[in-house]
């Protein structure tokens, strides 16, 4: 049967199991939208294309499925760049469908033409410009395959308008055949044996887990592994939730620039570091020459380019994190590991000493401390919320004080660090998980970058809770200015913010505000109980800082504390 390009596209999406598309119509995609009306695919209308990509990103992180968005050519496409770059840095599987002007006009600087393939080349996993309708079904199949396999990432498919109305035979594509793309899932056995030997020799082992553990659904394998080899665990920002925070004494908290004292100190003292699904970002390592100076480093990752990119490694293991950890667990099952606990006794004593001397702490007195808000939120929700964050201080306080026991519940722009991520990402997460409590922990500056998405939240009756920690600053930059630029607060003041309560109401959401510490709990309780979109604003201590902090360029163990 002959079908139009638009019909074929939607058939392909259905075949991939797509139930939701985040998007924004426009001239170049009007034919796709016209067909979309006739399908069961849910379309979520955002208010800005950046919001569509972040929402698809949040959807993908919360559900583990591929997020899909659909935007028009030209400005519709360019507005997706920040979202694509963020998903690329954090290895989130997305398929971004962009409209394109008719093939005959490409290259002529036509109205709303932009070379989106060229623009997204360095910030996407792959991209396709469809030039023949016969290729469409195969390309969509490949796009989904590439997005979710190997190290996941965003794939852009550019769809010229004439192809969408042209007709052709639709032949479903069942299999992907890409000779040039064959990710390595199974680890090399020789390397695993080397890891086993290092585990037997270590006195101070440490596991560092990252987003790869979440992406490969390796959390339970990781837990079994750490218990088996009796090694404490720290994670990167992207790895939060990959190891249960309630699993003491093994859990050390997050590592990095704002990591816990014990996690950072442990990285400096360990003699074996087993890194799983991380890429040794500079915010994790600090000064690379001083990172884990005493350790033999094992690096497990599905992406060979991550290995030895920033940090020299003793034993590289290319493979899927889950498969690799499961194989290691199986390998260790045949070993007598009874001596390990005694071997690591001093190590755990040392860690306990770090834990008790420098715990994460703040003192709540007159003004509301932002940490107090997050901690109260944690208490009131029992740690069971899905947390999206904006970027900056709010993000770090969320990471430090909202303890997670499960993966796929901490949704944050880790690598790109893009402000304006949290609200649309929370929308995507809430759509993926309609029965879960979804909270966006925001700052007053970040939230204004995509505040228009409140309209989306209200339109779809999404009961997301936005917590604005309002210090009337771009807090993290201000913190740097205070600490390293002699308090010259160059343009980081945000005195002229809207009244967030009125703004919430203007969008049709509920607005609540707390100005003193004793109002915090009541506002949180009230806000969390509402079955609608809510903005809760907390007027917090203006100059509160995130600690610990490793100054840029310092060793990870050289922390500013308080």
């Amino acid at each position: 049967m002959k079908m139009t390009g638009a019909q074929i596209l939607l058939k392909c999406l259905e075949a991939e199991g797509v139930d939701t598309v985040f998007g924004y119509p426009g001239g170049a995609v009007i034919d796709i939208y016209d067909e979309l009306l006739k399908t069961d695919i849910r379309h979520v209308l955002v208010r800005h294309e950046q919001g569509a990509v972040h929402a698809a990103d949040g959807y993908a992180r919360a559900s583990g499925k591929v997020g899909v968005c659909l935007v028009t050519s030209g400005p519709g496409a360019t507005n997706t760049i920040t979202g694509i770059a963020s998903a690329h840095m954090d290895s989130i599987p997305l398929v971004v469908l962009t409209g394109q002007i008719p093939t005959a006009l490409i290259g002529n600087d036509a109205f709303q033409e932009v070379d989106i393939i060229g623009i997204t080349r360095p910030c996407s996993k792959h991209s396709y410009l469809v030039t023949r309708i016969e290729d469409l079904a195969r390309i969509i199949k490949e796009a989904f395959h590439i997005a979710k396999s190997g190290r996941p990432g965003p794939v852009v498919v550019d769809l010229p308008k004439d192809l969408m109305v042209m007709t052709a035979r639709y032949e479903p594509v069942e299999k992907v055949d890409l000779r040039s793309y064959q990710p390595t899932y199974n680890p090399n056995v020789k390397q695993l044996n080397k890891v086993k030997d290092l585990i037997r020799q270590a006195r101070k082992p440490l596991i560092l887990a990252g987003g790869g553990v979440v992406a490969s659904k390796a959390a339970s394998a990781l837990r079994e592994f750490s218990e088996k080899i009796d090694a404490p665990v720290t994670t990167t920002l992207m790895g939060l939730g990959a190891f249960p925070a309630s699993r003491t004494p093994l859990w050390l908290g997050m590592i990095g620039m704002h990591g816990t004292y014990r996690a950072n100190m442990a990285s400096g003292a360990c003699d074996l570091l087993i890194a799983v699904g991380v890429r040794f970002d500079d915010r994790v390592t600090g000064k690379t020459e001083a990172f884990a100076p005493l350790a033999k480093i094992v690096h497990i990752d599905i992406d060979p380019t991550s290995i030895r990119k920033n940090i020299p490694v003793a034993v590289p293991v290319v493979g899927d994190c889950r498969i690799t950890l499961e194989r290691l667990n199986a390998l260790l099952d045949g070993e007598d590991l009874s001596g390990l606990k005694e071997r690591h006794r001093e190590w755990f004593e040392q860690i306990e000493a770090w834990r008790s001397t420098r715990p994460l702490a703040y003192t709540q007195h007159r003004a509301i401390k932002p940490q107090y808000v997050v901690e109260k939120l944690y208490e009131l929700t029992g740690g069971n919320a899905i947390i999206a964050t904006e970027v900056g201080q709010n993000q770090m306080w969320a990471a430090q004080y909202y303890h997670l026991d499960q993966p796929n519940r901490f949704i944050t722009s880790g690598g790109l660090g893009c402000m304006g991520f949290g609200l649309p990402a929370a929308i995507g997460a809430q759509i993926a998980c309609p029965d879960e409590l979804v909270v966006d922990i925001a700052g007053d500056a970040s939230i204004q970058m995509n505040i228009q998405e409140m309209a989306t939240a209200v339109q779809y009756r999404l009961p997301i809770k936005v917590i604005i920690l309002n210090n009337r600053y771009m807090g993290m930059v201000r913190q740097w200015q205070e600490l390293f630029y002699e308090k010259r607060y160059a343009f980081t003041g945000m005195e002229h913010a809207p009244d967030f309560i009125k703004l919430a109401e203007a969008y049709g959401a509920a607005g609540l505000r707390a100005e003193t510490p004793d109002e915090v709990e009541a506002v949180l309780k009230k806000g969390l109980s509402l079955k609608e979109s809510v903005i809760m604003e907390f007027i917090v201590e203006r100059e509160e800082k995130v600690y610990p902090m490793v100054p840029a360029g310092a060793a990870i163990t050289e922390m500013l504390l308080v």
Partner: protein, 172 residues
């Protein structure tokens, strides 16, 4: 750090639009070097071979190879450096040919087994093919006479046929 070394990489890639820009973009985006780059179809019209000369220490070269392999359209990456391979580059050289120098130029052309492909009133254009050493030696000899301009193809290379141990020993 290790010392910087020239490496000659041979890539088989899908012969599709945009593949070259992905490779070139990878080098510029990550601050890697391209000294020369040659692209053309192979016997299989769906596959192109790219021969690329780059410079870096061991860690950089390792990253370059991994990053190239990671590109979806790259089928295979081979680093010829340290292996047995043949390498050739062709250069067209426009050299000033004063009457009293013409015999000398022709002699050199002869010695280097190159040839004159265009003769004008002031210049000869010489075509020379060889590996890097031969090309640079030839250029050095012609330079004093006044090279007006040159066009180089960039290096291309192929691995030598694998020799069995016996054959190698026998030759020894």
């Amino acid at each position: 750090m290790d010392k910087r070394e020239k490496h000659i990489l041979s890539l088989l890639v899908e012969n599709q639009p945009g593949v070259l820009s992905r490779i070139a973009g990878l080098f510029s985006g990550r601050g890697f070097n391209i000294e020369s780059l040659c692209v053309a179809e192979t016997l299989d019209p769906e596959v192109s071979r790219i021969t690329l000369v780059t410079v870096g220490d061991m860690a950089i070269i390792e990253q370059i190879k991994k990053q190239l392999n990671k590109l979806i359209n790259v089928i295979k990456v081979v680093d010829f450096t340290g292996t047995a391979y043949v390498q050739r580059e062709m250069v067209l050289i426009k050299v000033r040919a004063k009457p009293e120098m013409r015999a000398e130029i022709l002699r050199m052309v002869d010695i280097f087994r190159s040839r004159v492909v265009d003769v004008g009133t002031e210049c000869y254009t010489v075509e020379v093919t060889g590996d890097e050493g031969k090309i640079s030696a030839f250029l050095n000899l012609l330079r004093p006479m006044g090279i007006k301009e040159i066009a180089r193809t960039g290096a291309i290379a192929l691995a030598r046929e694998k020799q069995t141990k016996e054959a190698v020993n026998g030759r020894d």
